[in-house]
Structure formats: C-alpha cells, structure tokens
Symmetry: C3
Subunit: 358 residues, 3 copies
C-alpha cells in the first residue's frame, strides 16, 4: 500500500497543517490508541489535554484551537471545522472498500407475485417477501430477511440479515433495521381462565416512522388492537424490547437491553440508558432521561431525570444512595444513642430521687 501524507489528507478535509506535512499516515485511530503513523482527533478541551501524551502521529483539532490553546504541543496538528467528521472521512479512506453491489432482485429470493418492489432496490438471495408487500426505492434487503404479507417499507431502507417483519408492519423512509431484529411478533397477552392462559389474538400492527434505526435482535411487538409506534428519528440499540401498543415519540434514544411493557407512551426526546425497565401504561414525559437500570412504575414528568429502582428524581436518589452507604454506621450510632439514653434515663431517675429525697 502506498500511504498518503499528512498534507494530502489535510487537503481532503480542508485542514491547515501545523507540523510535518510529509509524514506518511497508515491509518486512523482513537486518541489513546493512535501510533506514530496514525491520525486521530480531539473535539474538546478535555481531549485536547491528552494530545501531548498521545503517541499519535497527527491530530485533527477545531480550527479555533489554533494559537494559544495549542502553544506547547509538538504533535503534528491539522485544524479543521469539525474534527470528528474529518476523522471519519479519513477513516473511510483506509477501510477495505466494497463497491456497492448490484444484486437486483436475486433469483434465489422468494418474491410473491403480488409484491411491489421500487427502483434500485437490492433483494439478496434467501429473502422471503410475502403477498401484497410494498417496498420503495433504493432499499437493501440482505439474506434471510422475511417480510410478512401486507407489510410496507419506504424508500432507502436497509434491512440487515434475518430481520423479520411479521404481517402488517409499516416502515418509513431511511430506516435501518439491524440483523435479527423482529418487528410485529404477537404481544404477550393472555386471559387466565379455567387454570390456563388463553391467547388473546394480537390483531394490531407496527409503525416505524422515518429515520429510525433499530438494533440487532431488538423486538417490537405488534399491537393487540391498533399500532405499536416508533416515532420519527428514534434510535433503539440492540436487544431492546418494546411491548405491544407502546407509542414512542420522535427522536427517542434507548440504549441496549431496555424493556418496555405494553402500552407505554413516550414524548419526544426521551432517553433511556441501558437495562431500564418500564411498567405497562406508564408515560415517559417529553425530554426525560432515565439512568441505567432504572425501574419505572409511575409516569415521569416532562424533562425529569430519574435514576434507580424504584426510580426517583436524580438528586433525591443520590442523597438516598449516599445515606444508604452510611446505614451500617447509622445503625451503630443508633444503638449507641439508645444506650446513652438508657444511661441518661437512670441518671435522671437518680437525680429525681435525690431531688425528692433531698
């Protein structure tokens, strides 16, 4: 491989070099990982402080860091508008390139006669598309994708291997569904009668709005009646569970292993850290944030940050957690106090006796 120079790379991202433009660059790496021929980036002052001790050959920095802020730094620097963007642009140059494949509609896929497929959509071998499915333009359906009857997929969607859409799942535009995500399986609904669980038919559907991204092996159940909704721009990480008839607002972001029971609703801009659990019929208010492993049994007001299990407002919970850490000590203090009060009681009794006898 003929490696590009720092100067050449700087040119591609509109950057100004301070240092050795002739340095050959072998790759892109994170700040703490980069070696003598790697380029890295620092986007804020916290990371700027680590540049001097980094072994990186070169570092991309915000343009306004030129001057005093980088005075003592001997690392080769490249000043750009957006260091992270620039770094990712360069990273792409060092990746093994795979020309976009034009598999068209593979003969080894099953496409039902009543299905309609848009322009420039790639259907890989092993895909199964059932009757009355509609798929838009510019989509890619990787091997093993299953699309149940009457499902609809918009334009420019990517369905990674083994994604399953049960019947009547509606996916908007520019949606990314990662491998083995399952949309539209039956909700967990039973009636307990005569000592058995009778299945309640799950007759609803799923709607995933534009610009959503759904993680690997995440499951989104269909509604019992009506839809389960994932609002526009919402991002779900891997292994997330969304129960039947949940309705998520726009631009939510849920980290891995979050679980929502049935009929949970959320406002826009709700964020859940990993492994959060939410009970059924709860409402998570617009812009609220839930800390990792939080357990939610009651609705959360707009904008609130709650943590812990059972979840409480952050400051309140932190005070409780701190106090909890002192519990063994408090218990000891309490026992000491009890003894002292015992002693005091007997002293007072003595005094009282003395007083009355005197």
């Amino acid at each position: 491989m003929n490696f590009p120079t720092l100067g050449q790379l700087a040119q591609r991202v509109g950057g100004e070099v301070q240092g050795l433009t002739s340095l050959p660059i072998h790759g892109v790496a994170a700040l703490h990982k980069a070696g003598a021929n790697d380029i890295t980036f620092a986007a804020d002052e916290k990371h700027l402080r680590l540049v001097s001790t980094s072994a990186a050959g070169a570092c991309l920095l915000p343009r306004n860091y030129r001057g005093d802020k980088t005075a003592g730094i001997t690392t080769n620097l490249v000043f750009v508008d957006d260091p992270q963007d620039a770094c990712l642009t360069l990273a792409r140059e060092f990746r093994p390139q795979q020309p976009p494949q034009t598999v068209g509609l593979s003969a080894a896929a099953h496409i039902a006669p009543t299905a309609r497929i848009g322009q420039n959509t790639q259907i890989y071998p092993g895909v199964f598309i059932d009757e009355h499915v509609e798929i838009g333009d510019g989509c890619v359906l990787y091997p093993g994708v299953f699309v149940g009857h009457h499902s609809r997929i918009g334009n420019h969607c990517t369905l990674y291997p083994h994604v399953v859409l049960y019947p009547d799942v509606h996916v908007g535009n520019r949606v990314i569904l990662h491998a083995s995500a399952v949309l539209g399986a039956d909700g967990f609904g039973y009636r307990f009668r005569n000592g058995r669980f009778d299945k309640i038919p799950q007759l609803g559907w799923v709607e995933v709005e534009d610009d959503c991204e759904i993680g690997a092996s995440t499951t989104i159940d269909r509604g019992m009646l009506g839809p389960t909704i994932i609002g526009e721009g919402t991002k779900l990480d891997n292994l997330v569970m969304i129960g039947h008839n949940c309705e998520l607002g726009k631009h939510n972001a849920f980290a891995s292993q979050v679980g929502l029971a049935g009929s949970v609703t959320t406002g826009d801009y709700v964020r859940c850290a990993g492994q959060v659990g939410v009970a059924d019929h709860v409402h998570l208010g617009r812009g609220c944030t839930l800390g990792a492993k939080a357990g939610i049994h009651k609705s959360i007001p707009d904008g609130d940050t709650q943590i812990g299990y059972p979840a409480r407002p952050e400051q309140e919970q932190l005070k409780i957690v701190m106090a909890t850490a002192r519990l063994p000590e408090m218990r000891k203090t309490l026992r000491d106090l009890e003894s002292r009060v015992e002693e005091i009681d007997s002293l007072i009794e003595q005094l009282t006796t003395q007083g009355s006898s005197s």
Copy 2:
C-alpha cells in the same frame, strides 16, 4: 370499502344494540383511541367510567351492565356476553385478509431423507430439516427455520422465521415459537483448569410441552445431562433466557428479558414480571409471583409474592422502600438527636455537679 353498520356487527357477536344501529363502523380500536366510526369495548367498571368521555362511535359492554349501570351514557352500546372476545372477533373482520397459504413442502426447503413430516404441514422455502426429525400434522414452519437432527415437533405447531432447534429438541402440540427463538443451544458450562475454561459437553436435551408459546429471540439452553423442561401451557415473552437443566412447571408466565440461571425449578402457575433474574438451583414455589426486576438468590415459598433486589416478600420490601425514601431525613434526625443527647449529657453533668455541690 363498504362499511358494515353497528347493527350488522352486533348480530355477528350476538349483541343487543342500545343506540344507532345504522351507524357505519370503519374499524376497531382501544377505548382511548377510538373515533366516531370505531367500535371499542369495556370489560369492567373501571373502563366503563371512561366510556362517556371516549370519542368512540360504539362500545361493547357486558350484558349485565344493561340498565342502571349505563343509564347516563349516550354512546351507542352493544351488550354481549364477553366484550373483549366480541371486540376481537370484530377486529378480525377489519384486518387485511390473507387466505391460509398452502405451500406444502417447498422444493426450496431442505428436508433430510430420514425426516418424517405429517399431514397438512407447511414447510416454507429456506427451511432446513436435518436427519431423523419428526414433525406432526398441521404445522407451519416459516422461512429460515432450522430443525436439528432427532428433534421432534408435535401437531399444529407454528415455528416463525429463523427459529432454531438444535438437535434433540422435543416440542409438544399446539406450540408457538416466535421468530429467532433458539432452543437447545449449549448450556454455559465450563471447568476452570490450568488458567482456561474447558467446555463441559452439553449432552442433554430440551422438552417443550403442549400449548407453550415462546417469544421472539428467547433462548432455552439444552441440559448438560437430561432435559431442560418448559411445562405445559407455559408462556415466555421475548428475549427471555432459560439456562441449562431448568425445569419449569405448568402454566408459568414470564415477561420479557427474564433470566434463569442453570437448574432453576418452578412449580405450576409461577409468574415473573420483566427483567427478573434467578440464580442457579433456586426453586420458585407453585403460584408465586415475582415483581419486575426482582433478583432471586433463594428459593421462594409457594404462593409468595416477592419484589426487589435482593427480593423480599412484597409487604416487607414496600416498608423498606418507604423507609429508604426517608433515609436522608432519618440521618439528619439522628445527627440532631446526637447533639441533643450531648447537650443533655452536659446538662445532667451540671445538675449532678450542682446536686453534689449543693
């Protein structure tokens, strides 16, 4: 579409209309979602109270609510024996219909010569059935289903796309396995020797009894020796983990993301809410209930309800949780008491000194 009238729909479910029989009905919806041409249902007094404020065109109610209980309600009503059942019956009429497909044994499936398949069983393209497999009558195996050698499936089972049965998995009758469920993977068993984990061969099997339903991406590991058992009528939600050699009783119901370590046993009618975790070799007694996120390290008596982490009987835990909320305040009270006792001590010393000096 030519919409049916309320009167026509009422007839189909044996209902008596109180109101406008000529109202055209466009669909079925939940009580809080239903519009002027939707029909909904209310099955109990709690939901009955919401009918007046609902925008629903019509509402199915229990027959014995006719009269006083519905006196002031102006919504069109239909009285039936079982409102939820009736509502679901009507919901089916409004769904896009997909005639049951007769794919037979698809030529694009792999069926080993020694496999035996019953009558009216549908094997979709992309299914793989290994040697010595037995499958009963009236089953449906969707694309991507894998059935390992010597596995057995009873009658009238549904295996959704990409369900994987490792070898020697035995599935009863009328079992539903949702997409990407994995039954029979190796249990997590190793011996730590010479600084490495040596794999313990997992030579057991899995038994799923009649009428079970297993959720999407749920995993049930095979036993090391002997079976892992899912008892008759048991329902597991999505993303549940059942470790090797677990033996679940009949009619258990586990919500999403529950995890059981190895060799857990359960009685009949055990219920776990979401994200419960159970340590290995624990027994969950018949009819016990575990609250969401409960962490179980010790066996649970029959009929007990436990919550929290570590789990405790519900009433006990609730008292602890309430007391915990008061901890910061208790800590302050404790410090105040300490100071007061200090003061009292010195007052008493004074008094004692006065007493002895007097």
Copy 3:
C-alpha cells in the same frame, strides 16, 4: 436396545467397580434424577453425602474416595480419576448418534467468487459468504450463516444457524458462535444536532480471538474507529451485549444478559454473573468478579468482588443490605428515641427549675 452392564461401562472409563458389575445401565442422569438403572457421578464431598439417598443404580466417584469415605454406602460405585469427565464420556454413548455430515460446499449456499475456503470446511445450504472472505480449515457454517465482505474466520470454528458477521469481523481458531449471534453491527453512536440524532459512521471492526465461545443471540458491535475485541478463551453466554470499542481481556466469562456500554475494557479472568450492566469507558480489573445484576459506574480494581447497584465491594454491600432490612425497625427506634429525648428534655427542665427554685 441392548443395554451395557456396569462392568462394561466401568472398563470404558478405566474405573474399578464396587458392587454389581452385571447391572444393566439404561442411561446417565444427574444425582437427584438418576433411577435404578442409571449411572450418575459425585465429584466432591458435598455430593458424596447425597449418594446414599439417591435412587441411582450406580455412581462414579473419585478414586481416592475408595475406603473409609464410602464405607456405609450400598449404592454400586465406580472409582475413576475424574468422575465428571467419565460420566460425560458415558453420556455420549447413550445419545442418538449423528455421524459427522460431509456437506462440503453446498450448492444451495452463496459463496462469492473472491471468497477463500479452507480444507474440510462444511458450508450448509442457505449460507451467504460475501466477497473477499477468508475461512480456514475444518469449520462448519450451518444454514443461514451470513459472512460479510472482508471477514476472516480461522480454523475449526463452528457457526450455528443464522450467525451474522457484518463486514470486517475477524474470528480466530476454535471459536464457537451460537445461533443468531450478531457480530459487527453498528455501534450506538449519534451526534445530537438540530433536534435530531445524526448517525456517526461506525468504521471499525470486531476481533474475536482463539477459543472464544459466544452465546445465542448475543450481539457484539463493531468499533467506531478501531476494533471491538473479545480476548482469547473468553466465554459469553446468551443475549449478552458488548458495545462498540469494548476490549475484553483473556478468559473472561460473562453470564446471560450482561450488557457492556461502549469502550469498556477488562483485564484477564473477569467474571460477570447474569444481568450485570457496565457503563461506558469503565475498566474492570484483572480477576474481578461482579455479582448478578450489579450496576457498574466506576472502574473496578484488580481482584475485587463487587455486588449490587450501585456496585460496592461485597462485604460492604452485604452489611448495607443487612442494615437495609432493619430500616423500618430503625425508623421506629429513632422515633421512640426522639420521644424519649423529648421527655428527658422536659424532665431536665423540671429538674433545672426545681434546682434553681430550691
């Protein structure tokens, strides 16, 4: 079936029989499950104590238990070097045998022209291998396995059905990937700008070193830049989540449903029990152990055992848990003390008044 005798079985594992060599053995079972014609094993004194009450026809024991330790036991015994190993050897004899299949490179698989496949590697129908993939010798890729372009797999690996390797995933030798494991999906990385989450391209890769075993439906995300690494000999159970740019040391063992956020690093020999959650950028020190459901927000020192949420050193946490159980009682004690101090205060006031009035 013609059952072997205890004597015949003992010979196969180099064991010495104490008891009835002619006993026909029908199968192998766990100690508490074994019947009159089953053989079982006990590897330590704890299990030895259960042998007498077991219904087992015969029991494998460590050779050095011959003599005093087994004096009163009437069960048929077989003394061997390693009872568990011997038992598993015998278990294999009773399993339905499946001769190793030689499917070769199935014509019903898709293998890209630029892919290179080693000797004796079995590629089942329905496998998809993309361009520039390299796979070593003696591997088995079951139906539905997807291998993205430029991915590499070493020798003697097993990829169970529907395993997905995105592009640029590197797997070492003797690695086992269970059904529906997903390696190399995009990390959960976004920049929040103008009210939307913009996707940060995930340009890194995944490295799984030699002798790892990855559970069913476990997901390991690719790095943003650089690799996500699973160190040699590390074992992950089912439904585990490993975030982007995590770097796991050698011989880690994580039980089911553990979740690591991005950029977590671990030393060698780290153990996590089920449902542990670890925040991003945390370091788990060499040889540390985390209890079930532990929530980790700060780095853990080498060799530490931590439990609970928030996690604390085990002994400290146990004290807190015990004290927590006493909280309602402590609260009562505290209130009692308050009243008593009130009383004391007024008594003292009386005394003081008396004192001054006297």
